[in-house]
Symmetry: C2
Subunit: 195 residues, 2 copies
């Protein structure tokens, strides 16, 4: 039998017994999210952390000028939630919706807390997950501070080719912190430079 993608994801960092794996799997709720369907809305409680089995989602922040600022993308094998809201049980600041029809596995905060107590190895798993997320965000800040938009786009294409293929340019522009019009201009320039 094929092991589920989420178990492969977890086995990257910790070893579990079959019993532990079964217990973990029993905590998960599978959910299908339609394109444009909102999984998490700003202001609501965000009680689930989500593992993407299939599809593509985005997290974004709506600022005071009603601009959507894309914070992260998530495709197969990524975890996504509003971590601040999830961990501290505060209203969500972020919105999360599906860029295409997606299948996710949801783990509830209270189940995760129990899991931590019953199987402490999961503390390690989530420590590593948070560590990697922290480092990733720090690298993104470095990129934003030290590179002009054109270089950030090149960098994005190199680093996340999977995203580049599936995500509309408009969303990528937002992720990079530029307008879609400007991204379009940048793309025209580089294509000229190449040809």
């Amino acid at each position: 039998m094929e092991p589920s993608p989420i178990l492969l994801n977890i086995r990257k960092h910790i070893d579990l017994t079959t019993v532990e794996e079964d217990y973990f799997i029993s905590l998960l709720k599978e959910k299908t999210v339609q394109r444009k369907e909102q999984l998490i809305k700003e202001g609501e409680a965000c009680t689930y952390i989500n593992f993407v089995q299939q599809g593509a989602l985005r997290a974004f922040y709506v600022d005071h000028k009603d601009n959507e600022n894309v914070i992260m993308f998530a495709i197969r094998d990524w975890w996504i939630t509003d971590m601040h809201s999830f961990a501290n049980e505060k209203p969500a600041m972020l919105n999360i919706d599906a860029l295409e029809e997606s299948i996710i596995l949801q783990l509830h905060k209270k189940d995760l807390d129990q899991l931590f107590n019953k199987v402490p190895k999961f503390e390690r798993f989530f420590r590593i997950l948070m560590q990697n997320a922290y480092v990733r965000e720090q690298l993104r800040i470095v990129a934003n501070l030290s590179m002009p938009a054109a270089d950030r786009y090149d960098n994005f294409l190199k680093k996340y080719p999977q995203f580049a293929q599936r995500v509309p340019l408009k969303q990528i522009a937002s992720y990079l912190g530029i307008t879609p019009e400007f991204l379009s201009l940048l793309r025209k320039r580089t294509s000229k430079r190449i040809s």
Copy 2:
């Protein structure tokens, strides 16, 4: 007897026995860092995570144009390291130096790994530490994407008044992703607006 600041820091998130606390303390090396002394240099291995007992430090990244981009500040009660280098045992990408004479407590990677195995509660502590760091960096990205420089500066002053008092404007400008000249201009503008 006064409990040490680092124990107070840890007790915010986990409960330890006296034996565990003593064991933890025994792993720490105290170190004094002079103003401008470099604690971590790009390219070298970064084998310590550092808790600031006194003083102020900064982490920065030197880009291909030799600009120093400030990634974070750390004062009393903050932890600082090049997390990517520390966790994955890679050469450091960041530099860390002291903005003023500082006293830090250093915990070695191999001691931390042992600590995790002997006292698994520390997995939880560092999970929460990483979680908070992740959320903080994400909020910073939101701020960078959605606000003009003037608002980011106001935001910084509100959020980190402790830093604003101790850190040179040049360093704050770098942290905000602007030039010191432009920050100076912004300050002149706001002071006019107030008076």
